[in-house]
Amino acid sequence: MSEQPFLLWAEKYRPRTLDEVVNQKEIVARLKKFVEEKNMPHLLFAGPPGTGKTTLAHCLAHDLYGDNYRQYMLELNASDERGIDVIRSKVKEFARTRVAGDVPFKIILLDEADNMTADAQQALRRLMELYTATTRFILAANYPSKIIEPIQSRCAVFRFTPLSKEDVVGRLKYIAEKENVKYSEDALETIYDLSEGDMRKAINILQAASALGEVTVETVYKVVGLAHPREVRQMLQLALNGNFTEARSKLRDLMLNYGLSGLDIIKQIHREIFSSDLKLPDEARILIADLAGEIQFRLVEGADDEIQLNAFLARLAFMGRKFKPT
């Protein structure tokens, strides 16, 4: 019977209404006020990935417009549609029509807004002013500092905090029971540790682990190991052994065949640096962590993935001679 359609749990167990949301309580309370008043300012949702920014935007829209809310909401994602021209034409078209009903505005959700260039943000600011009578913008961003000041000042800013261990583990338990999945408490806590407060990631790990059978600490680690290729560690090891050229081919493999972005890779590197499987003196770990942080910052600023990571690996290859792993 399992060849029936099967939903990804990240979709299946997403809250649909503000009442179903169990965390971010203060934010939910303020959003409910907007629903009551059928009015709201432009909103800026800021916080780490997987803390419910997009989900809450959808819940808010659902509560305002009902089940068919998606026809009153334009969803744009700045990582997929970087060009302001695309955004401008879509926004124009969407904002032109007035809404019938008791909510006098429509919603434009601009997700991952911090990926927009400064120019595009300036243009966006004009759009926000232009269509303010008929639309409200909700901007979601990981790094609010990358949103230009004039936009921030036009929005009510909501800061999303990383989810607590209780919230995440509680939710995972709820899902596991609904799905009749066998699990151990330890395993769910391990998922929390590995997902760093990112609910979407936690649920993905849970589902993938359940695909292997019972959800145990072992299966959780296995899933994460499979999803995050070993090549990252091998690449680090090669670089530290002074073999830059091969480390560089591994990097290309990760980027092209695994489809990882520079940021994905540097974050995985960061996890590896303090792993006991990597034989290194502790002072080297700290130096490498500092370097990784710098590279991550450069990537966030818009630098080229491969060049930055090559610079990182080349530095490791040079440093590695001093810290020859034993």
Partner: protein
């Protein structure tokens, strides 16, 4: 018959009189040959080296004709066959000749010897030089290739320089005359300038224009060389950056590079380890390139084109002066792997993107996030639980291609579940 010959063959110099430029190389070579004739030369072999199209092979052929020598020639494609080398060793070791003429042994493109697949090739040539009773001439683009170090050590090095522009123009005019084609002097100059001392490419350009239009004008020359330039520019820019002796040369190399900075940085990225040997130099060069790249990123984000100067300074002089001592060497710069790999993996990336497209709206997230955060876990599910995988494939309308991408060698199992008719509605 001869009408169809490429001009670079048709107008190859028959004798030294027809051979243009390379005065210095010519003198050194003749002096060396005279030593041979007089008895024992200081070095038994010469190694002619210099960029492509500067006349190394043509010179040897013209010389052999002028001096009435029998030429025994071998090039990179022959080195693999030991029998060829043995044949040449026999020729070299015997004094006699059928015609009574002297002999000249010519090994072209020795830097093309592959240390792995032509194993023993270098040793065989050393042996040949050792036993030879006749002058041995070798030619290479890169005399400093580590593959041929031992050949270099036993040879007199003679450099062939890029041809002077006037020499190229002179050679081109002569061909125009013989072909009876009307050629504007300015057009020939343009071709010569763009060839940067590579007579072979200049003659090829001349033929391409002349055959297509029946005449050569400045305009036609510009149109054609602009087209060639796209592929040629990065090599030249790289050579000039890495070999810059002074800061100003590296700056010039960047500002006159004629390709956009985003492309140039990828070429430099590819070739830092090609040019530099020590980890320290590689690391310093990458740090400079990395900083340049950060500036380029800031320019795009902020629109501050003022920053371009800093990016250029780091990309040119910054990379060039990462060396500890000046080497000035020839390195074969190749087309960046990155471009090749990108085109090879295009299909797979397209499939991945279409999966991301299928899921992003349902999961309320960007395609980028689906790619990095969801697809890795889907792959785990698809390779370990075909039933669940089939269910997900059905729910999200994944195609066979997408299933294959996610499930790898487990695709068969997933697809066989998928092909059974669905019983019942969604779970």
């Amino acid at each position: 018959m001869s009408e169809n010959l490429p001009w670079i063959i048709k107008y190859r110099p028959r004798t030294l009189e027809e051979f243009v430029d390379q005065e210095e190389a010519r003198k050194t070579f003749i002096a060396w040959y005279e030593q041979w004739k007089a008895g024992r030369p200081e070095k038994k072999a010469v190694l002619l080296h210099g960029p492509a199209g500067t006349g190394k092979s043509s010179f040897v052929q013209a010389f052999a004709n002028s001096y009435n020598l029998e030429l025994y020639e071998m090039n990179a494609s022959d080195y693999r066959r030991k029998s060829d080398i043995d044949r040449l060793v026999r020729v070299a070791a015997s004094t006699g000749s059928l015609s009574g003429r002297g002999k000249l042994i010519f090994l072209d493109e020795v830097d093309g010897l592959n240390p792995k697949s032509d194993e023993g090739g270098v040793e065989a040539i050393l042996q040949l030089i050792e036993v030879s009773k006749h002058p041995v001439v070798m030619a290479a683009n890169d005399a400093y290739s580590p593959n041929i170090r031992s050949l270099r050590d036993v040879s007199l090095l003679i450099e062939f320089k890029r041809l002077r522009e006037t020499a190229v123009v002179q050679a081109l005019s002569r061909i125009c005359e013989k072909e009876g084609i009307h050629c504007e002097q300015e057009g020939l100059k343009e071709i010569a300038r763009r060839s940067e001392g590579d007579l072979r490419s200049a003659i090829n350009d001349l033929q391409a224009i002349a055959e297509a239009y029946g005449r050569v004008t400045l305009e036609l020359a510009k149109a054609l060389s602009a087209y060639r330039n796209r592929e040629y520019a990065p090599f030249e820019a790289l050579r000039r950056i890495f070999n810059a002796k002074y800061i100003f040369q590296a700056r010039d190399a960047i500002s006159s590079a004629n390709i956009d900075y985003d492309t140039l940085k990828i070429w430099i990225n590819e070739h830092i380890p090609t040019y530099y040997d020590t980890p320290e130099e590689v690391s310093r060069a990458y740090e400079a390139l990395s900083r340049a790249d950060v500036y380029l990123g800031r320019i795009i984000k902020s629109g501050s084109w003022d920053l371009l100067a800093y990016a250029m300074e780091l990309m040119g002089p910054g990379v060039a002066f990462s060396r500890k001592t000046y080497k000035g060497k020839f390195v074969k710069f190749t087309y960046p792997e990155r471009f090749r790999l990108l085109s090879e993996t295009r299909k797979a990336r397209e499939i991945r993107d279409s999966i991301a497209e299928a899921l992003a709206r349902r999961l309320l997230t960007s395609k980028a996030t689906v790619r990095s955060e969801v697809i890795p876990y889907l792959k785990v599910i698809f390779t370990s639980n075909p039933k669940m995988a089939a269910g997900i494939a059905r729910e999200y309308g994944l195609t066979e291609e997408m299933v294959k991408f996610l499930a790898g060698n487990k695709a068969g199992e997933v697809l066989s579940y998928l092909k059974k008719p669905s019983r019942g509605r969604r779970s």
